[in-house]
Subunit: 205 residues, 2 copies
């Protein structure tokens, strides 16, 4: 397949792929999977539709690739922030990272809700993603309970679902109305899960 | 405007209106605002598009009417369950009520996320709704703090945003995967906001 764009618009495949994913993230985040056409995305990128299909074979494939790119960024960021940090501090660093990337948050919020429909192309993706993220957060909770940082009475699996719900729910409120201080509310919430006595013996709550 | 349906399909306007709203709730909840056409909704109801436009002048008006019908149901249910009940018990009753109405929950979850986009027809509706619901929940929190039922250190406004986030976030997880016990997680979370000593002097946490 040949791109219709002129020679000055030619870019290395990796750069072009990134550019398409950036445009797709914004478009799907604004209008949802059904509200966007590949023709719209190709036009915004400045390439032909066959040129776009050279990189992604379908709209479904492009959506999943945009979600996976977002996950790679989140998970690599989490690996950095969780390296040696407590669950609470790691999640707060993630919250601030998300806040700096509202386009990615919108893609995630809009597509997660849409994907409730079993026929949605990202239905399986989100079901599996939630299982994976709950399991990962539950592991961090267990580790911090063993280290005496989190309340011992917390059920790790249920609390993981709860923490992810707070984060997801606050994202929608903040994206709709930035006067909601997402990460401040998140911090107050997370501190409530910590043991009453902090490391220096001060009463936390 | 004249409906194309035969005489046996004629229904009193209130019944027909309810029927259209039920079909619209399911359709918008499945496919989002942009994924549904008035022609689809009219066809599912079994009336013509002019017949549908006799009840709702546009797709935008129909979406808002479906959301408002859902709110009327939620708010009247809340008025009943909060009458004499604590904030925690009222919210748990609401959680169970929501769980029995997954179509309404889907409409709400999908449209709230879509409406982040300022050009979405429900953008203003959801911004205002969150302000109103946060304010209402904050009022319940203050009342229960005065009654010694909730932790005195909770900031009512921030905690209201937090509670609504937990509820919204758990709804998406449950709708995607009903193995997440939404109301059980909600209950554990809400009990953590209550004072450590319950009415009978037992330590709650």
């Amino acid at each position: 397949m040949v791109e219709s764009s002129s020679v000055r618009n030619r870019k290395p495949p990796g750069v072009r792929r990134e550019q398409i994913l950036t445009v797709a993230t914004e478009a799907f985040g604004n209008s949802g999977f059904r509200g966007v056409s590949l023709a719209d995305i190709a036009a915004t990128v400045g390439i032909s539709q066959p040129g776009l299909l050279h990189h992604f074979r379908s709209k479904e494939e492009l959506l999943i690739a945009a979600l996976e790119r977002r996950d790679e960024d989140s998970f690599s960021h989490m690996a950095i922030v969780f390296n040696g940090a407590s669950t609470v501090d790691g999640l707060l660093a993630l919250c601030r990272h998300n806040q700096e990337n509202p386009e990615s948050m919108r893609l995630y919020a809009v597509t997660a809700a849409e994907s409730i429909e079993p026929a949605h192309p990202a239905h399986g993706y989100f079901r599996q993603r939630y299982v994976r993220v709950r399991s990962s957060v539950a592991g961090h909770i267990r580790r911090d309970q063993d280290a005496g940082l989190l309340l011992p009475e917390l059920d790790p699996d249920e609390t993981a679902a709860e923490i992810i719900a707070v984060m997801d729910g606050l994202q929608v409120q903040w994206l709709l109305d930035p006067s909601v201080d997402m990460c401040a509310v998140m911090e107050t919430y997370l501190r409530r899960l910590t043991r009453r006595e902090s490391a220096d013996g001060e009463v936390v709550r």
